[in-house]
């Protein structure tokens, strides 16, 4: 068994309850942080731990915290980004469902470190059951004086509110999240100003992912240096990976960063190999937004080195032959998977989720979806492939928020690595129509509704 830091207590029966969590050492770090440490010391430990944002971008958390405008006299806010909606990513949900108090403990320490007296958990609206679980845990923490006024007699006060979203992926983007929390339409803001200076209601605000914040408790407990000793290079600590697709054991796994990708896919402890003894075809290693990699490039880099589960190793080779760790949504495809269909599916998602503010993303995602839809249903042409690559290239880097890039990368990487499959679709429309999806073709030919 690998080491567990976040999920250490996940197996204990009844761990959702305060008393049991406390009995197993829970809230020890909160006590330690609030009573024995100063905010600056906590920040120092977090910086030392080398913890990087688990929401997707992998930005060092200590550094991000240090950017928070501490001169401004307005109230400060901490926001826990629990809008997890990226296809393939379901790790935050697991944390909140099984270890709500671990998340709360992280929130309490982080709010104290950042000097925030109000904290919001912006939770994805579809996670209806989690809202109840979180609220119950918050109520318990209030009763036990870990929340509310004058926590543990330290004079520090904190309120935590759970705010459900209304079903938009874009509200996971931090500035769209702030707009949504303010009761407005969830459109990403134009940066700068960054939330650390002008966030919620114009006040300094820190937005962090659930997993990032959940790791704060263990880091305080074990010390930043001990946390940093796990992992490899600048990818320190452990990371939750949500594995799905054609594998024997889909699920959420906690791994030490630095684990070889091959071990993760094939070892019994994790994914347990490809289902039904088939061959591995491709992997999307970090949620639907990151580039897809074919089997040979996910196991080894273009330079022939073993590919590891770290931010650096997965990105090795840039976009030509690399990908990203992203949010840790690990999607595995076997030899039977149709990459064109998969790309179409992802693009449909982005087309549906684009907020529609900026022209490249609004129009480009819809256009790519229509072209991919045609190709997938045997109505495409050879020239559509270059057209797609060109559209994706024009969306990339020209948009307000990274959703545009996230929509473009899967398309450009799929064409880069699996061009022959797109060509097959264009060359053999009869075959594609016959094997694949007769019913949909009929639908497409009559009149497909895009709205």
């Amino acid at each position: 068994m690998g080491r567990k830091i976040l999920l250490e207590k996940a197996g204990i029966p009844g761990i959702r309850e305060f008393s049991i969590y406390r009995h197993h050492g829970g809230y020890g770090s909160a006590e330690k942080a609030l009573i024995k440490m100063s905010p600056a010391e906590i920040l120092q430990e977090v910086t030392r731990s080398g913890l990087r944002g688990r929401g997707g971008a992998g930005f060092p958390t200590g550094l991000k915290w240090s950017f928070l405008d501490r001169k401004c006299t307005n109230p400060r806010f901490l926001i826990c980004n629990a809008d997890e909606s990226e296809p393939g990513t379901f790790k935050d949900r697991y944390l909140m469902e099984f270890l709500p108090h671990l998340v709360l403990e992280g929130l309490i320490i982080s709010s104290f470190a950042l000097g925030a007296n109000t904290c919001y958990i912006y939770v994805r609206g579809e996670f209806k059951t989690l809202i109840g679980i979180l609220q119950k845990a918050i109520n318990e923490a209030y009763q036990q004086n870990f929340l509310g006024k004058n926590i543990l007699g330290t004079g520090y006060s904190l309120d935590i509110f759970v705010h459900p979203g209304a079903g938009a992926y874009i509200c996971g983007e931090e500035t769209a999240l702030l707009e949504s929390l303010e009761g407005k339409r969830g459109n990403p803001r134009i940066k700068p100003p960054f939330p650390a200076y002008k966030g919620l209601y114009g006040c300094p605000t820190m937005v962090n992912n659930v997993e990032t914040l959940a790791a704060i408790g263990p880091i305080i407990e074990m010390g930043g240096e001990a946390y940093a000793s796990i992992g490899k290079g600048k990818s320190t600590g452990t990371k939750l990976i949500s594995a799905c697709g054609n594998i024997n054991k889909p699920g959420v796994y906690e791994i030490d960063l630095g684990l070889p990708v091959e071990d993760f896919i094939y070892s019994k402890e994790f994914c347990g190999g490809i289902k039904d003894g088939k061959r591995l075809k491709a992997v999307v290693p970090g949620g639907s937004s990151v580039p897809i990699l074919p089997a040979e490039l996910i196991l080894r880099t273009a330079g022939g080195q073993q590919r590891l589960m770290t931010y650096e190793s997965l990105a090795d080779g840039g976009f030509d032959s690399g990908s990203m760790l992203g949010s840790g949504g690990f999607i595995v495809y076997n030899e039977d998977a149709c990459i064109v269909r998969n790309t179409w599916n992802f693009t449909r998602f982005y087309q549906h989720e684009s907020c529609g503010q900026c022209s490249p993303c609004r129009e480009g995602t819809g256009w790519m979806e229509k072209v991919l839809n045609r190709l997938e249903h045997g109505l495409g042409k050879m020239s559509d492939i270059d057209l797609l690559a060109s559209i994706a290239g024009k969306i990339e880097g020209t948009t307000i928020c990274p959703l545009g890039d996230a929509a473009a990368w899967p398309v450009s990487s799929a064409i880069r690595h699996f061009r022959q499959e797109f060509e097959f679709h264009a060359e053999h429309p009869e075959i594609v129509r016959k094997i694949n999806h007769g019913a949909l073709v009929k639908n497409q030919e009559s009149n497909i509704q895009y709205r």
Partner: protein, 322 residues
Amino acid sequence: MVKVTIDNIPIEVEEGTTILNAARKIGGKIVPPAMCYYSKLAGSGGKCRTCLVKVAKSSAKDPRPMPKLVASCSTPVQDGMEVLNITSPEVIETRKAIVEFLLINHPLDCPVCDQAGECDLQDLSFSHGMANTRTIESRREFPPTDIGPFIKLHMNRCILCYRCIYVANQITDKRVHGILFRGDSSEISTYIENVIDNDFSGNMIDVCPVGALTDKTFRFKSRVWFLKPMDAHRQCTKCSGRVTAWMFGDEIYRITGRKDQFGEMEEFICNECRFGKKEFSDWIIDGPRKIKRQSVISASYYENMIKPSVINPIGEIMEETE
């Protein structure tokens, strides 16, 4: 004051000025086109991405280039910044792509559109777009709807620049006009069919860069290039009363705000002036309006255009622009 160069032309501007406004101070061809930014509407800009430019040097302190193209309308200048607009092939290429994106769902019904001739999108695609199209897909379709008694919305033509939303929020009753849905199904709508009846709602028509919002009192009356724009004024209790009257002979066909060289209204005007005063006797005519912006109605803007040999009806007011 900070010093910047745009396409190698140096200029000094106040701190906090955006690249676009610095470029407008220089004027001429190096001004990036802006389809969503409107200097009189707070918060506008950043959406259409036609104004993207390259920052080759961030500032004197930090000489690194910015990694991506930036929206000039919402990026403030820094001392020593070097900006490339028309001198950067990357910018020109990207702008071409943006025009293409703006057009893939646009109906291109210019022959029956009231805006034709003074449409920012027409001008933009003429100057920055490509000659061919790469789309064969069907376009978004919406039925035309009425927004209040004076305004017609053709959602098909809308480029979702949000300007009319800012007008609705900032100079008319708040929050009755907005965007519904998201992505490429977004549409402009007036909350549950509420009509906009506010003295200043007509300004939405003038800020709309395309023919999505048109004047119902002028619809299908005339092509704009057959009319003579005249500066006119009257005593008005609600607004300044300074307008442009679009005339044919002695008849006033329509009233709009006065637009400057960047296509922005100099002042917002009230609905009474715009829709209610169409008699020659209502107005004191100041003289011909000089149209300096990049528009078909100032035909001499396009240097390479072959000018027709017949006398142009608005010939006298045309002026060469840089």
